[in-house]
Structures are given as structure tokens and as C-alpha cells.
């Protein structure tokens, strides 16, 4: 017997992840949906396979997420669908529920967030709703684990007994007539069964392009022209309106709302969205996020450095200086160190972002910022992607999938690499600290600012190039504010940081080991300058001759292309000193001609040149072609070269 499969679906932010974790005991497995980087989460409840679908509002695809959810249900035909509804926002949530009923798969409804509904004095007659929906309804407060056992039992029972398909809504007679007609046109098409012909007929009458592609791929035959003839421009809204009036009936009959003395969301919005102070508050929150991230991360980073340094010393002391100890210390520990040193920064940043997201503020930020972002060729939602970029550009690129139009996504992706990611910071700190001492803060700030300004200019430029394409609409729900729980904030942080850890675990570690090998080969070097690593630097150095970068600085750039995290490690290996050593900075500075202007131009180069391979791969996956990653590499290189050159020109290096 093949195992049963069920799928979780629901509007965004209804607690799907929490329910999924409660059902599977948090033992989810994450993979990607075929062809896209949208994550596919699957897990097991006993021998039942559970798939978590992306949060969607309807089954008419406007973004990739919708398409994935819909195709999964139509193609994979799960044995049971569990539709999670937000009890505090039932009216809108039920719309997706009715659409799902129309497909005709067996379905259970979950009324989640019952605790919040109580708080808001919303009273729901569960039995009554269930009768209207002709399906089981289970109330839960997933975050408190309430109702989960009942849900598990209900899932098992339904899988055992099976649920019968029932139509809920009788549409107005005029529409029913057309549905029947269309059903007769399509009944011979493949994919059509008695069960789903009504669903497909309705979708065709709603001008659903995906269904057309599926059912009537060659749209010049007789059936298609008959369909064209009976379609009315007013049909889609009449279908939608009929669904919503059915929902109104459900709500009126089964839901009562007490008077609230105090609506906290409305109260908070009076400040957060205020005409005068809304934007200042936004700026303060962003500033606070960076302050928090860097302040809290710094001691952790120091600690990691000290511990790894001591560990290395202990090993050398223990087994003596040899090729083996060098491999362990300069290769493995160094490689490991290059990774963990970034974790505090990146994860703290994602922690704050997840907190803001869970609290409901992030959608407000998009609302407040949309006007400006739109003017810059972006979208209110691009804003979050840009912020993520300060942590790591990989999750930043992945987050663009929430943006609907292809063009808006491309523009956001192309601009993103200029947001200075956490991996570039150590280079700034090392060189900045050496050259400018206590004034390094200002220098580093200027680099971040330059990144932002260039991101804006890049966005405007690409927007011009892509001007013909359409822009995403701004249709955004402003959900209630909620007090985020530690558990879900951490879960969301991990979801964002996971990609970085994957990249760190594979690419960065490998690169550091490879660099170490290149540095020790050939064996028995009389002088470090004989090593392959050194030779590679020497080979590429002429390209950077006009910029006065020495060969060590060049090696940093070359390997930084693989992962910017390894730039400093490359310096260390080339010079044969510890990454933590105080000699490192001055030696690099020497390699840059002991000239502050050249040092600054080098930092500008590191800021702007091509994104690392993990980002390139992410752009390839998200944009679906090699075109955009190639463009991003080329423009990055040219821009970095040009800007570094300009810095030196203005700084008087050439005179």
C-alpha cells in the first residue's frame, strides 16, 4: 500500500509553519521545488507524508508561489488537503477555502489562532461553519499546541474513511448554464474527469490562463472558439462575488464579534504609519537593527577568534610545526574559522528581521517605503530583500520571489549585490583599522553608503532598460500586530540563515582547503613566492596593475570571487601569518603601496566587484537563465574597476 500524502495550505501568515511543526514534530525536511528555489518542506506524521505549500491567497497564479501550490494540488493529487484559516480573519481566509472545495479534493479546515480570536472577542460556531463548508473543521491554537491532537485524529480518520466531494455553491442560474456548456466542450480533453470538470469549466469562464494552457493548449480549435463566444467580461467578478456572498452568509450565521474596548493594532498604526512620524520611526527601527546586530555580534566574533587562535597554538605546540599541523591549523581550523566568524552577524541580523516580520511591522515598512522604492524602480517588497542583503545576498536574492512581476524581481536582484554583505565587512575592518585607526568607522560607513547609492543607480538603470515590462501591483495585507514568540522567531531566522550555512559548509570550507593546498605546493619551497597560490596572484596581478594592487591583494580578489568570506583568509595564507595576527593589516597595506587612497580604492573594489558564486547560482535559479548572472558579473567587474580607478584619480594617485 502506498503511503498517504496530505498537503497543508493557507493564506500567508496563518500559522502554517507552526502547524506543520506540531504535526511532524519539527522534523521537516527541506528541499527545493523542481526548477525553482522556493523551498519545499516535507515531513512525516507516522506514515503519513505531509507537504507544506507556500502561503497563497487564491489559486489564480500571480507569483511563483501560487503556481507551485496550485500545480501541486492538481498534479500530485494529495489524498487530503488541510486548509489552515486564521480565525481572526475568517472572511478573507475562507475565499481560498471555497476555491479548494471547488477542485473537489477531500479537505479538512483548521481554524487556527483561536486564542487570538478569543482575545478579540470573536465567537465562532464551529459546528455551524462545518455544516456550511460540508467538511470537518478543527479549532486550534497551534502556538500553544491546543487542538493539535484532535487535528491528528481527524486527519487519520478522514484518510481512513475518505471524504465525499460535495459542491458548495450554486452560482446564479446564468453562470450555472454556462458552466454546463463548457463542461460539455471539455469533457473529451485529457485530464478531465467527472470530478474535476466543473472546476475546470469555472476556471475557463474566469479567464484563467493557466487552465487554458492545460486544458486547451491549441487555442484555435472549435471548442476554444465556442468558449470564447460565451465568455462574458463580467463573469470573473460574478463568480468571485458569489463566493464572497456565500462567505458572508457563513459569517453572519456563525460568527459574533463583541465590542473591543481597545484595538491595539489600530492604535499602534496611528504611530507607525503616521504622516509625520511614520518615516522617522522606520529609520530609527532600521538604525536600531544595525546597532543591535553589530554591537551584539562583536564580542562573539572576538571570542571566536580568540578560541580558534588558542586552539591553533595548542595544536602546533602539541604536534610541532609540520605539514600536518599546518593542514590542521591553516587549512581546517582556518576554513572552519572563516565560516563561524560570520555566523553572529548574519544570524543576529536575520533574528531581528524575523522578529520584525513576525510582529507585523515588516509589511508596514513596505507600506511606508513603497512610494520611494517605486520611484527608484523597485517595489515596496524589494525593500526587505535589500535589507537581507546586508546579511547575505543569497537569501536576499531568494526572497525576491514574493515580488510578482518578473521585471521587478530582476531589477531587485541586479541591484542587490551592491548591498554590502556580512562577508565583506572583515576586509573593511582589517584594512580600515590598519590604515585609519579609530577613524575606520567613518570609512566603513562610507562604503555601506556607497553600496546603497550604487544599488539605487543600478536599479534605476535596469528599470530603464526593462522599461517595457510591466511592474508588480502593490496589493499587500497589513495583518494585525502580534507579539512574536521566541520559537517562531528562531524558526524563521533559521529558515533565512539556512542557505548561508549550506553555502558556508560547502563552498567556503572547500575554497579555504584548496587555497591551503595551493599554498603548500610545490613541496619544499625555498621561498613562499614559489607557491602556486603566489603564482596565481602573480599571473593576475598585471590586470590590476593600473590600480596599483599588489599580488596579495589580488589573490584576495580572485578567491573572493568564490566566496568573499575567504578574502582575509587568503591574505593570511599568502603571508604565512595568522588571520588574527596584528602583522596582517600592515602587510596588506604595504601590498597596496602604503597609500591610503589605494587602500580605499581596494575596499571600493571589494565592495562592488562580482557577487560570489553562491549568489551567482541563486540569480541563475531565481531568474531561470544564465543571462542575468552573467550580466551581474560583468557589470560588477566593470563598475568596481571604474570606481576604484575614479577613487585613485580623484585621490591624486596618478599625478
Amino acid at each position: 500500500m502506498s503511503e498517504d500524502t496530505i498537503a497543508l495550505i493557507g493564506n500567508p501568515n496563518v500559522g502554517k509553519t507552526v502547524v506543520f511543526n506540531a504535526l511532524t514534530g519539527s522534523k521537516g525536511h527541506v528541499a527545493n521545488w523542481p526548477g525553482v528555489t522556493v523551498e519545499k518542506k516535507t515531513g512525516k506524521m507516522g506514515n503519513i507524508q505531509i507537504t507544506d505549500l507556500p502561503g497563497v491567497y487564491s489559486l489564480t497564479p500571480t507569483a511563483i508561489d501560487d503556481l507551485i501550490a496550485r500545480n501541486y494540488i492538481l498534479d500530485e493529487k494529495p489524498d487530503l488537503i488541510v486548509d489552515i484559516l486564521d480565525a481572526t480573519n475568517l472572511e478573507r481566509n475562507l475565499y481560498l477555502g471555497l476555491l479548494l472545495k471547488e477542485i473537489g479534493v477531500p479537505i479538512i479546515f483548521v481554524l487556527n489562532m483561536m486564542d487570538l480570536a478569543d482575545e478579540k472577542k470573536i465567537c465562532i460556531d464551529i459546528e455551524g461553519v462545518s455544516q456550511y463548508l460540508k467538511a470537518p473543521v478543527v479549532p486550534t491554537s497551534a502556538i500553544k499546541n491546543e487542538g493539535i491532537d484532535l487535528l491528528k485524529k481527524m486527519i487519520r480518520d478522514c484518510l481512513k474513511d475518505g471524504l465525499v466531494k460535495t459542491d458548495l455553491i450554486e452560482y446564479p442560474a446564468k453562470l450555472e448554464l454556462q458552466i454546463e456548456k463548457v463542461q460539455s466542450y471539455i469533457e473529451n480533453e485529457k485530464e478531465i474527469t467527472k470530478l474535476n470538470s466543473r472546476f475546470y469549466a469555472i476556471k475557463l469562464l474566469e479567464n484563467d490562463a493557466e487552465t487554458e494552457k492545460r486544458i486547451m493548449p491549441n487555442n484555435n480549435d472549435e471548442n476554444y472558439s465556442s468558449l470564447e463566444k460565451i465568455r462574458g467580461p463580467e463573469f470573473p467578478i460574478e463568480f468571485a462575488s458569489a463566493r464572497y456572498s456565500y462567505i458572508s452568509e457563513i459569517i453572519n450565521k456563525n460568527m459574533k464579534k463583541g465590542k473591543l474596548s481597545f484595538d491595539s493594532s489600530a492604535f499602534l498604526d496611528r504611530f507607525f504609519l503616521d504622516k509625520k512620524i511614520g518615516i522617522p520611526i522606520f529609520i530609527i527601527i532600521m538604525w536600531g537593527m544595525f546597532e543591535f546586530t553589530f554591537r551584539v555580534a562583536t564580542p562573539f566574533m572576538t571570542l571566536i577568534e580568540v578560541v580558534l587562535g588558542k586552539l591553533g597554538d595548542a595544536i602546533i605546540e602539541g604536534i610541532g610545526e609540520s605539514l600536518l599541523s599546518s593542514f590542521i591549523v591553516d587549512g581546517i581550523i582556518n576554513g572552519f574559522g572563516s565560516i563561524v566568524i560570520f555566523l553572529p552577524n548574519i544570524f543576529l541580523m536575520f533574528l531581528v528581521l524575523s522578529f520584525l516580520e513576525d510582529s507585523g511591522y515588516l509589511s508596514r515598512a513596505a507600506f511606508v517605503m513603497d512610494r520611494l522604492m517605486y520611484k527608484l524602480g523597485l517595489h515596496g517588497r524589494s525593500f526587505v530583500s535589500m535589507l537581507l542583503g546586508f546579511g547575505c545576498n543569497v537569501p536576499a536574492i531568494m526572497s525576491t520571489r514574493a515580488i510578482e512581476s518578473e521585471n521587478d524581481r530582476i531589477v531587485t536582484m541586479m541591484a542587490n549585490q551592491n548591498m554590502s554583505c556580512g562577508a565583506r565587512l572583515p576586509v573593511y575592518i582589517l584594512i580600515g583599522g590598519t590604515v585609519w585607526g579609530s577613524a575606520a568607522g567613518g570609512i566603513i560607513f562610507s562604503l555601506y553608503a556607497m553600496g546603497i547609492i550604487i544599488a539605487i543607480l543600478v536599479a534605476l538603470t535596469f528599470r530603464r532598460i526593462l522599461s517595457k515590462g510591466e511592474r508588480s501591483p502593490f496589493i499587500l495585507e497589513l495583518g494585525d500586530y502580534r507579539a512574536p514568540t521566541i520559537k517562531s522567531t528562531i524558526t524563521h531566522m533559521w529558515e533565512k540563515g539556512r542557505e548561508f550555512v549550506k553555502k558556508a559548509g560547502t563552498i567556503i570550507f572547500t575554497v579555504v582547503i584548496v587555497m591551503w593546498i595551493l599554498q603548500v605546493l610545490p613541496l619544499n619551497q625555498a621561498d613562499p613566492s614559489e607557491s602556486y597560490l603566489y603564482q596565481i596572484g602573480a599571473f593576475f596581478q598585471p590586470f590590476f596593475g593600473p590600480l596599483h594592487f599588489g599580488n596579495i591583494a589580488v589573490i584576495g580578489i580572485i578567491f573572493g570571487f568564490l566566496a568573499k568570506e575567504v578574502v582575509v583568509a587568503a591574505f593570511g595564507l599568502m603571508l604565512g601569518v595568522d588571520e588574527e595576527s596584528s602583522e596582517l593589516g600592515p602587510k596588506i597595506f604595504e601590498n597596496l603601496g602604503n597609500n591610503p587612497v589605494i587602500a580605499y580604492s581596494y575596499l571600493v573594489f571589494v565592495l562592488l566587484y562580482t557577487p560570489c558564486v553562491a549568489v551567482i547560482a541563486a540569480i541563475k535559479r531565481e531568474s531561470g537563465s544564465w543571462k542575468w548572472p552573467i550580466i551581474s558579473v560583468i557589470y560588477g567587474l566593470l563598475l568596481a574597476y571604474l570606481m576604484a580607478f575614479l577613487v585613485q584619480l580623484i585621490g591624486g594617485v596618478y599625478f
Partner: protein, 74 residues
């Protein structure tokens, strides 16, 4: 004929007609015939606009509001 983009803060109206490329999405979000919609506020920069519809908060750019016809409610 009044457009959704012409409402003032606090005004209520009923949806009459949608002429947008994104009408499917709008309908899913609750903008259907006869649905009551209320303008809550404008974003600090004047756009987008926050509405209340179907007992929740939805924000839309002015641009898209110009594609929605409404009837004012007194």
C-alpha cells in the same frame, strides 16, 4: 461615477466595477461586487493607501485604485 482613488480618509463606498489587469488578485482579496470598503489612511508619502475591507486591512497603490469604480455610501 467615483473611483476608489478618489475617496477621502474615513469615507466608505461599495465596489461597483473592476477594470484592472490584476482583477483576479483584487477579487481574491475581497474586492467583489457590493463589498464595502473604507479608506483608513494614506502612507506618509501619499501612496499607497490603506483600506479596510472584509474586516481586515489591505493596502493598494493609487494607480490600481484608479481601476476600481465605487459607489459612495453616506
Amino acid at each position: 461615477m467615483v473611483l476608489l482613488s478618489e475617496l477621502k480618509v474615513g469615507q466608505k463606498a461599495k465596489i461597483r466595477k473592476i477594470n484592472s489587469k490584476f482583477s483576479n488578485k483584487l477579487m481574491a482579496m475581497g474586492l467583489v461586487l457590493g463589498a464595502e470598503i473604507k479608506l483608513i489612511r494614506f502612507a506618509p508619502a501619499g501612496d499607497p493607501i490603506e483600506f479596510e475591507i472584509k474586516r481586515y486591512s489591505l493596502s493598494l497603490r493609487k494607480e490600481i485604485c484608479q481601476d476600481v469604480e465605487v459607489l459612495l455610501i453616506e
